[in-house]
């Protein structure tokens, strides 16, 4: 008789921490830098304990210099190291725009493939607790045009750990978005080491009538909405893309062909969010499978207000999704 392994539950934040610890231990070329990532453990506590365990040369506190954080990471990466850079907020990618888009993403290509740029940018994103217009966005789509870099957005502790380990080991640069509102979220994470390949979407729920294609924190609201819809007899499939690059086009096409009714949902505002790209791919690749117009259920198209009172209206809720499901199922 085999014993069921005891299932361990970890928070999203701890899962990331564990991935970092394991990779720091495994490969001495890996190091972490960012603001207050050292003894303080990071603005959100994600790097807690790493400074004590690995020391100040592996876990480095930096000045408030985002261009250095990324550009310096590139410099270290092309000379043999594997930096994991923490931005205090994902929104700050705009403070290092050229370093991300022009240097991290292009250095290898534009120098004829002579270098690799194995670095990971950790980007805590999302609306959570009134952090305002400059500390609350989900800017992952800003990097869609930045060919050369991968874009990873895990939605569960399990995915967060497995994808981060792959990202650190990958020789391409990776922008890794982690939603601040999920740090406390708990989920199963095996004791044993594992990795998740970049570029594979994950069916978080299987269904027949309607597909929700989503990523990041919206996955959970989609699952909630799917649960509610099930009670009404509508079977909803939830596809978590997990990566915007490499993008799992096959998984997108498969779910569209299966249900013919698609809702795309992300927290970022609709215009210029990643959903446009997904909708376009559907319109190109499998439009004839559609039984209803595509719908995007996304964040508001304004900066995120500072006031928590208004902030609550910014991100689509499970109810918003529920209404869209009912609508599209009836179409």
């Amino acid at each position: 008789m085999t014993t069921t392994p005891t299932v361990r539950k970890l928070s999203y934040s701890r899962a990331i921490n564990e991935a970092l610890a394991e990779e720091l231990a495994r490969d001495e070329r890996v190091f972490i830098m960012g603001q207050d990532v050292g003894a303080f453990g990071g603005a959100f506590g994600v790097t807690r304990g790493l400074h004590a365990r690995f020391g100040g040369e592996r876990v480095i506190d930096t000045p408030i210099s985002e261009m250095f954080l990324v550009g310096g990471g590139v410099g270290a990466a092309i000379t043999g190291l594997r930096p994991v850079v923490e931005m205090q907020y994902a929104d700050f990618l705009w403070n290092a725009g050229d370093e991300i888009v022009g240097k991290m993403s292009k250095w290898r290509y534009m120098h004829g493939g002579l270098f690799t740029v194995p670095m990971v940018l950790r980007l805590p994103e999302g609306a959570a607790g009134g952090a305002g217009p400059e500390h609350s966005t989900c800017p992952e789509a800003a990097l869609l045009a930045a060919a050369g870099s991968y874009i990873v957005i895990p939605s569960t502790p399990y995915d967060a750990k497995g994808l981060l380990k792959s990202a650190i080991r990958d020789d391409n640069p990776v922008a890794y978005f982690e939603h601040k509102g999920m740090y406390g979220l708990k989920g199963e994470v095996p004791e044993e080491e594992y990795t998740i390949p970049l570029g594979q979407a994950d069916l978080k729920r299987v269904g027949d009538d309607v597909s929700i294609i989503t990523w990041g924190r919206m996955v959970h609201r989609a699952l909630e909405a799917a649960e509610t819809a099930a009670a009404d007899g509508i079977s909803v499939e939830v596809l978590d893309l997990r990566c915007l690059r490499p993008l799992d086009v096959a998984a997108i096409v498969a779910t569209v062909e299966k249900t013919g009714r698609v809702i795309i949902s992300h927290e970022a505002g609709k215009t210029g969010g990643g959903g446009g790209e997904i909708a376009a791919i559907i319109a190109e690749e499998c439009i004839t499978s559609l039984e209803a117009p595509v719908r995007r259920i996304c964040g508001i198209e304004t900066p995120v207000p500072q006031s928590t009172h208004l902030e609550q209206y910014v991100v689509p809720t499970a109810e918003d999704l529920g209404a869209a499901i009912t609508d599209i199922a009836r179409y």
Binding site: F92, G129, L310
Partner: protein, 319 residues
């Protein structure tokens, strides 16, 4: 000139800023005010005395460290409370709200960049605007020792120096950027050492001494108004509380903090006024009592405000 009346006014405003913040922290404790607050306790002398040296039509780009600069720039306390309460009594009518995006064009309060150091280049642009419009205004940009290392500082300071713009950069050097001590991320002791590289006047002073701050600032303002160009004014200050409310602050030693608190600018200034015979104990008590009442009245009014509804979510996005 630092008259006796000005000294009293500076003290009054410092006391007001401190007490106002205490009251705000109680609102936070009561759950009435949401979000991040970075208390300014300890920075009152630098923030208040420098602003008292300005005119209403001078510009301010403040920083996140408390609200004393805004109060001293004559923003209404009702508006400030309203901003934190996120209601329509606030300067931003509950739309911005919270310290980051308070503003008051009538008093030259232009707002803040939440990405620290964003103000460095804005300030240079405001300086250029003053020069092109040929007024004799000045613009002040506040920031911390941490934000001093943003590249925006280089670009703003270089232009301000090259074009002799009426910009005053005030670095509130409390030695810490959240948990990171200045010495770990910066080679120099004083940021004023960077001024010469931009052709700017640079001066580093005890930012806990309001009268010294006022006099240094008055000089910088005079220089700026007269076309003499920008100043980098460093005030050495002490952050009495955590980086934000809730920060355990374990990275800083008890001794360091205790030594810092001995320099309390509000307490020491009161003593000085008494020692110099400018006011009696009773007079100062009465002054403080009046301020307390003012604050309570302002809060009372602010609490009558209404929180904006969902329909106003996109208000102000486009003209």
């Amino acid at each position: 000139m630092l008259t006796d009346e000005l000294k009293i006014e500076i003290y009054r405003m410092m006391y007001l800023a401190q007490t106002w913040e205490q009251r705000l922290l109680r609102l936070l404790d009561d759950g009435l005010v949401s979000g991040f607050y970075h208390a300014g306790r300890g920075h009152e002398a630098l923030e208040v005395a420098s602003m008292v040296a300005l005119r209403d039509d001078d510009y301010l780009l403040y920083d996140h460290r408390g609200c004393a600069h805004m109060l001293a720039k004559r923003m209404s306390m009702v508006s400030l409370f309203g901003d934190f309460l996120g209601n329509d009594k606030g300067s931003t009518k509950g739309l911005g709200a919270g310290i980051v995006h308070i503003a008051d064009p009538d008093h030259g309060v232009l707002g803040q960049s939440g990405t620290l150091g964003g103000g460095h280049v804005l300030a240079a642009g405001v300086g250029l605007s003053i020069k092109l419009r040929k007024t004799d205004q000045v613009v002040v940009n506040f920031f911390g020792d941490g934000a001093a290392n943003r590249g925006t500082f280089h670009e703003g300071a270089n232009v301000a120096g090259a074009w002799k713009l009426p910009v005053i950069y005030i670095v509130q050097n409390n030695g810490w950027a959240i948990s990171t001590p200045q010495s770990q991320v910066t080679a120099i002791e004083s940021f004023a050492e960077r001024a010469a590289g931009y052709g700017m006047a640079g001066v580093s002073i005890d930012g806990m001494d309001p009268f010294l701050v006022y006099e240094t600032m008055a000089e910088a303002v005079e220089r700026a108004r007269g076309g003499g160009g920008p100043t980098l004014l460093e005030g050495r200050v002490v952050r009495f509380r955590g980086h934000y409310e809730g920060d355990p602050g374990t990275y800083r030693s008890k001794e360091e903090l205790a030594a810092g608190k001995d320099l309390d600018p509000v307490v020491r200034t009161r003593l000085r006024l008494l020692e110099d015979g400018l006011r009696t104990e009773e007079e100062l008590d009465r002054l403080q009592h009046d301020v307390d009442a003012e604050i309570e009245a302002a809060l009372e009014e602010a609490l009558t405000g209404t929180v904006p509804g969902r329909e106003r979510l996109s208000e102000g996005l486009y003209v």
